[in-house]
Symmetry: D2
């Protein structure tokens, strides 16, 4: 409706459609969560409730946007995968990133008090967001493998680090030095020999992160079905009969399922082919 002589400034906006026929991944990541997690006293190295809140916000985003087929989260980040031919917001890069980032934030903040009833949100969190196109399924799988490998590497490190500090009584500096140059095997052994921790027994959500897929599930509900007496099935028209019957009908509904499995292994992609469309 609104037109004015100033409108020319809109032309300074850049067109930013992402390449067609590519899979778009949007990743959100907590802004300065080093500080945010401290201020809100998250459990170290993994705060189950905080991770569940992340999963909740991500699931809400998944439900709201039809074209999302897969999401993966760990630490303060979540990645969302669009199907290849999505035309959501005409594939505009900044729209996709900003809208998903904002929606995720809104659900995170709104649900905070439900997940942390005793912990007020003293300073609201923010998430940066980006949208990146990937041209092949292999690239898409490697993207998610990248994030899960990152989860694994960080979690093994953090589990060892905080064991040394919280259980072993080392200062953070000494713990850091102790771990420098160790490889995965060393850390596994350290955890077992010094703290009796079998890393394999750690919660899958910590080791593997969280994966959200969409599934069609049948559901049954009672429904009023009108009776049409002129039907061959009801040959006699009756004035005084009921005008409907109650029947159980079965429909499909899309549900978001949370998993904590390997998404590097082939098996996941075979089991959930709908995750990459």
């Amino acid at each position: 409706m609104a037109h004015s002589k100033y409108e020319y400034v809109k032309a300074f906006e850049r067109e930013d459609k992402l390449l067609p026929n590519t899979w778009i991944v949007v990743r959100v990541d907590g802004k300065g969560f080093h500080k945010f997690t401290k201020e809100h006293q998250f459990t170290k190295p993994n705060d189950i409730t905080a991770l569940q809140l992340m999963n909740h916000a991500a699931a809400a985003v998944m439900k709201e946007i039809d074209d999302l087929t897969l999401a993966y989260g760990q630490s303060d980040e979540y990645s969302f995968l669009f199907k290849r031919n999505t035309d959501y917001y005409s594939r505009r890069e900044v729209k996709l990133a900003s809208v998903i980032g904002s929606l995720f934030t809104a659900h995170y903040v709104l649900a905070w008090s439900r997940f942390f009833p005793d912990k007020p949100l003293t300073k609201p969190p923010a998430f940066d967001a980006r949208a990146v196109p990937y041209p092949s399924i292999e690239n898409v799988r490697d993207y998610f493998a990248w994030r899960q490998a990152d989860c694994h590497i960080n979690n093994l490190y953090n589990t060892s680090f905080w064991a040394l500090v919280l259980k072993g009584g080392l200062t953070e500096n000494v713990a850091m030095k102790r771990l420098s140059k160790t490889v995965a095997k060393d850390k596994n052994e350290l955890l077992f020999s010094e703290f009796g921790i079998n890393y394999n027994d750690e919660p899958e959500m910590f080791k593997k992160g969280s994966t959200l897929v969409k599934e069609l599930k049948p559901f049954t509900k009672e429904s009023r079905v009108p009776i049409k007496y002129a039907d061959p099935k009801y040959p006699v028209v009756r004035d005084d009969g009921p005008d409907h019957v109650i029947q159980e009908i079965t429909r499909q509904e899309t549900v978001v399922t949370e998993l904590h499995c390997s998404i590097i292994d082939e098996a996941f992609w075979n089991e959930y082919p709908q995750a990459v469309q």
Copy 2:
């Protein structure tokens, strides 16, 4: 820390630094607020509380980001101006848009219950965001003039429209036809002759939108100043004296001021030269 063979996928990210030596404007705008405002029964055409909540969220963003010098909001949108030489997030377009969009959203959602204590947030709002560079001060001023002209045109229309519907009892369709092809003067007259409304007397916040500027304000606070008895001023060292005195000291602090004036007129820019740096 984390390195894996999958890391190559990061190279699919695009570098997106905005042109140096330009003023960057980030605008956020409510996603589908047509529906959101209905669901949450905002007053028509202007919900004062909702606008105040927008202003609150925007002021919080202004306070958090030093390099923002000006903000302007109306309806479901807010624009933020960075100073010309900002290096915030290295001027990365999607970072700027997504972080400001997310921060704004977080403050909006978090403060909702304070502004609307009796209205639960049934569905969280989202805001899209964009970042646009402007190369000259004239372009910057025209940008803000564009948004304020938009506010004026829409508000005059909406005020007339809802007067016809809510007070005049017209259907929305008839009201729309009634207003089609009218110019500003016609609407002013209609409001006055039919509803006794002098458009000039409408609240400035509705007609002009809200402008946020930063100002340095002196503030005075009491402060404990330690006494150093070895000072020439206190030549005698005394064991039993106080170790500090309470003094009033004056500092400068940055405050965000909310205005409802014309930002099209020269006067505003003369009065607040710090608004465009």
Copy 3:
């Protein structure tokens, strides 16, 4: 070597790497060739010599740049296909477009007098260029099909148009009207019934354009091979014998082959699988 305080201006350049793992097509197209072909009196609608000059320039580009695997030309344009994983100029969009455009131009101008010995180049031609990434083989094939379909549609039209004008004596305006709303079948019939032209018998280069592929061809050359008398094969060291023998050796060399076939049909892609790598 050169550093000065002015060097900061280089930062205003935009990074423009094309998405990894995509096939890049560079297309050059004559700038204002409507005028250029008139000024240099090209035969209408197809100037064989001019098309051969285009093919010559394109073949030279193909030979110079290893990563090019396919080229297709028609009218005043030529398209070049890079292999998927090329890192030529780090996949920088403007570098790729400008260098190929410039190289093509240089060969076109340099070879002009050889192709048109009696026609001086009164005004040098220019070609615009662009570089476009395609994420799938199907997109790549459709790209080339697009250009060949364009060749077909235009050539059928132009052949009919110039037959009407040059042989039928119609004015250009009347010829245009005559052809408006005709479909391919109509034009074929018109050519045959009015001018005895069987469109199928037109030269393949006009109907299909020109396709350049690379092939490895064995070639044989005489080569001096030194004799090592200490070899087991030559057990007796002789002072007075020859120090080499002349032998025929066979090597592979890359040659550029020009074709005038359908590149829409499957057959081409089966015969030249190396055309899309």
Copy 4:
């Protein structure tokens, strides 16, 4: 005209308009001129004829494109400045770069034999090109200062280097070491004390590069002016008189002027204000 089901592939092209209200600089630079200048035995370190050929090609580009107001060249490169509000090719980045690069190349190749009548062009040259927007006049001036400072630094170095090699008989390696860590003053002294060369007396074109500006020059030509006998000035209609007179008329024409002055100093910009529009 041409439409086919394959046309969708055009949508993979990216919109690339450069920011409005900025000054666009297009720079072309010889591709691999290290090798090209060797193969064609350019005089070291400066080949006057080659530089004149560059100037010729650049002047032709300037004449052809109205919106270019300034050009500067040195070594194997040339920069062209568009006026701020140009809409040439809708400010499309790749079009601007590729067309100017191609046009420059065409003129360079076409004029080669005129500048080097005894030196055949054995391998055609190519030029890369780029288009960069600058938002302020200061940035524009600094851009050109950057290129001229580069010319100065390189030319002083190259003059010293080739004096040591060609006149001093040093190997290239020794000459390089000799110059390493020297500053401008050292090189000036070396040239003077060892070779009697006063660097100040070197040709301005070598030291300062070449600058092209546009100027309006009046020119006078004889023109047939028809006589209208019905004019008040010629009251008597005569059948047998001449129907025209020959008159000298004066018009303005745009000429491209070549300069070899400082474009870092204020003076140039004051004398040629039309160079930055």
